[in-house]
């Protein structure tokens, strides 16, 4: 009898716990918010009625709502801009509350499920491939009007117009990152220590690799667990022969068996077999490979230009970037204007079925703009989408100044892996370029697989 009683009691307890925690909290919180909202609405309505034309200084709207936002928020590069944007939002949209959900590194599974169940947050960060997918199913709002009314469109750098408009001419996301570049970093101190000159051709690169290896220095660290960087490496090589690089293949304007792509694959094979990369390249993650470079165990490193801030913070004067080496001196010189990297029409998007869709769109535009400011002010990068009126908190790293000074000379850029639109080609390129890091994987196999993916 006692046992039954205890059992029954515990059952009741757990049940109430289960139900209670889910429903009750919900009720109370909604009750609270509705209370406060009713208060503020009455206030704001009278307010806005009186001061329709004269909003307080710095306030853009008094409209009031709680918006769900799905954004990356896990490291300084994502937290600093977000926190800054929220801070600024409190001034410009004092009655808008953001409810942040941190984006998972899950290949978009969660966002996709949200879209499938009609649960999309009001504002969300999207990559280009997702935009294409969401477009067809009406899960992403066309932001053309809001881009005009908020003046967002006018603030976009002339050179970055390519990252505002989708292929179909519409605007689906407010970008904040500008055109970015794949940068070939090197450790000046190590180069000097072993008397190695900055390589301009592949032969020099191979000779340099020999020297470093003989001295137990990894010539070049690469985070081969990530497909985008191996794809970038391949793109760096391919652009020496054909400025179109992987972007040309993605756009369907080239085939994998063209000379440029075959030559690039062969060169990658040669470099891998010469031991350019660390032994553990295929399984190295970003933190492993960058630690190698920052600890002075590797002489060179490939990464985006956003790495300049971190690299300078650790290596100071000793770090610099070089032009990509090429197959001969002439192509090296010519190739100085041809870079790997790029930008895409991606960023903050808005759920068209949101209760406050227009407001959400305005807020999304606002946040993207603030991201640009924060990136200039605190993250040491002027390569943002918008021409914002912000001064860097500290000077840009010397490497950035150098890059900025040659930007006008750059005539051609390609695409980062995550800006590719052909999903099958993209994943195949990632897998296959990673595969190229294995010594016995041949260029022929690579080209065949790449060709197959383009034929899909």
């Amino acid at each position: 009898m006692k046992r039954f009683l205890a059992l029954g009691l515990s059952l009741v307890l757990t049940m109430s716990l289960l139900v209670g925690c889910s429903n009750k909290t919900e009720e109370t919180t909604t009750a609270e918010t509705t209370e406060t909202t009713t208060e503020t609405t009455t206030e704001t309505t009278t307010d806005s009625a009186e001061t329709e034309e004269a909003l307080p200084e710095g306030v853009l709207s008094l409209e009031e709502a709680t918006l769900r936002i799905y954004a990356q928020y896990s490291d300084d590069d994502t937290k600093v801009p977000y926190d800054y944007a929220v801070e600024q939002l409190a001034i410009a949209y004092p009655n808008v509350k953001l409810e942040l959900e941190v984006q998972a590194q899950d290949d978009g599974q969660k966002l996709m499920t949200y879209a499938a169940t009609g649960n999309l947050p009001d504002i969300f960060q999207v990559a280009l491939a997702q935009i294409e997918n969401f477009k067809e199913s009406g899960n992403i709002m066309a932001l053309n009007d809001v881009a005009k009314s908020t003046g967002f469109e006018d603030k976009v750098f002339e050179s970055a117009k390519n990252i505002l408009y989708n292929e179909d001419g519409n605007i689906y996301a407010f970008p904040y990152a500008g055109n970015e570049y794949v940068v070939w970093y090197y450790n000046k101190a190590i180069f000097e220590q072993y008397g190695v000159a900055v390589p301009t051709t592949y032969d020099e690169l191979l000779a340099a690799a020999e020297t470093f290896k003989a001295n137990d220095i990894v010539p070049m660290a690469i985070f081969g667990a990530e497909g985008w960087i191996t794809a970038a490496m391949y793109d760096v090589l391919a652009t020496r022969w054909d400025a179109g690089g992987i972007a040309k293949l993605d756009d369907g304007k080239g085939t994998a068996d063209e000379e440029a792509y075959v030559k690039a694959a062969e060169m990658m094979h040669t470099l891998v077999n010469a031991g350019l990369f660390q032994e553990s390249a295929t399984t190295s993650n970003y933190d492993q490979a960058s630690a190698m470079f920052l600890n002075g165990e590797a002489a060179m490193f490939l990464n985006g230009q956003w790495f300049m801030t971190d690299a300078t913070a650790t290596l100071g004067e000793n770090v610099d970037w070089m032009y990509y080496p090429s197959y001969d001196a002439a192509s090296y010189e010519a190739g100085k204007a041809v870079w790997s990297g790029g930008g895409a029409a991606a960023g903050y998007a808005v759920n068209p079925n949101s209760e406050h869709a227009t407001l959400a769109a305005e807020v999304a535009a606002f946040i993207s703009e603030k991201y640009c400011e924060a990136k200039v002010m605190y993250r040491g990068t002027p390569l943002v989408a918008l021409d914002v009126d912000a001064e860097p908190e500290t000077e840009f790293p010397a490497m950035m100044e150098k890059l900025q000074s040659i930007l006008p000379e750059i005539t051609s850029i390609t695409k980062f892996d995550w800006h590719l639109t052909n999903g099958t080609f993209k994943t195949t390129l990632e897998d296959q370029t990673k595969y190229m890091l294995v010594k016995d994987y041949t260029a022929e196999e690579f080209i065949t697989e790449l060709g197959n993916s383009l034929a899909q």
């Binding site: 990356q72 896990s74 941190v102 590194q105 933190d287 190698m292």
Partner: protein
């Protein structure tokens, strides 16, 4: 004589192997503890295996400050316990019916229920989310609990079915002659007899629910319902990850289960023995 020596030498080697394997099995716990006190550079380059040179206690502080650890912990506990209770109850009832009772289609039924073991969760992610959503369970714990229960049912019924098949029917027949009805028979005879299986299943299902990430990531839409494995979201970036803090969250998530297991494993063992004793 020499033969005997050979045997004892062989035995020693065998014992050594058993203990060596045991050592390798415990090592991850120690490794994880060390890991959680290191920074990225130590973890990957300078000192992947040794004792941390400086104790980066801030890893824990960081993990703790990123998300509401006690709340996530409580959520995990509620979801896991509820999953265990429901799965065990449903699976045992079902397996009892399919292994003992006579009716058409019981073989088909067992195969049907075992389907859950074969499907990778990623494949059913979106339809499951849609179902949970249309039932209005997406803002409650029940969404996660019922899905976990359904998925674990396949395995649990398989184990119960096997263990019931292995039991002699005579015991129930004796009770049946005494005039007990089927419910009494089930509670008084069957439930104690399958205790060994129950004990292992409880642990397994609990761990499954406790460590589950993929479904939790997609099905939990409210912060106040999130479970512990989702804590890593706050530390894992698109490029860089704070691995030390990740280690700390993993310790926070696993250490309680390890301790619980070590403490209660004796109880589990006893539970298994009682099962044997009843029979004997």
């Amino acid at each position: 004589m020499s033969n005997r020596k050979k045997i004892s030498f062989g035995k020693a080697v065998f014992a050594l192997f058993c203990w060596f394997y045991a050592a390798i099995s415990i090592y991850p716990v120690i490794w994880l503890l060390f890991y959680s006190f290191k920074n990225n550079s130590e973890i990957f380059v300078t000192n992947p295996f040794g004792i941390p040179t400086t104790l980066h206690v801030e890893n824990y502080a960081k993990a703790w400050s990123q998300y509401n650890v006690p709340m996530y912990f409580l959520n995990s506990l509620i979801v896991s316990v509820a999953t265990v209770v429901l799965t065990i109850a449903f699976a045992l009832l079902f397996s009892y019916a399919t292994s003992r009772m006579r009716f058409k289609g019981r073989f088909i039924m067992t195969i049907y229920l075992s389907l859950g073991m074969f499907i990778p969760v990623q494949a059913i992610l979106i339809p499951v989310a849609k179902t949970v959503n249309s039932l209005g369970l997406d803002t409650t714990r029940w969404g996660l609990i019922l899905v976990y229960t359904a998925i674990n049912l396949s395995f649990a019924t398989l184990v119960y079915y096997g263990s019931l098949k292995g039991l002699p029917v005579e015991l129930e027949e004796a009770a049946c002659i005494d005039g007990a009805n089927i419910v009494t028979c089930f509670l008084k005879i069957i439930v104690p007899l399958v205790k060994p299986a129950t004990a292992t299943l409880v642990i397994y299902i609990f761990l499954n629910a406790w460590n589950e990430f993929i479904l939790a990531n997609v099905l939990v839409v409210k912060d106040e319902l999130k479970t512990l494995p989702l804590g890593i979201l706050f530390l894992q970036g698109a490029f860089t990850t704070d691995w030390g803090a990740m280690g700390a969250t993993m310790v926070i998530a696993s250490l309680p289960t390890i301790l619980l297991y070590v403490i209660f494993s004796k109880k589990v063992e006893d539970a298994m023995t009682i099962g044997g004793a009843v029979k004997g």
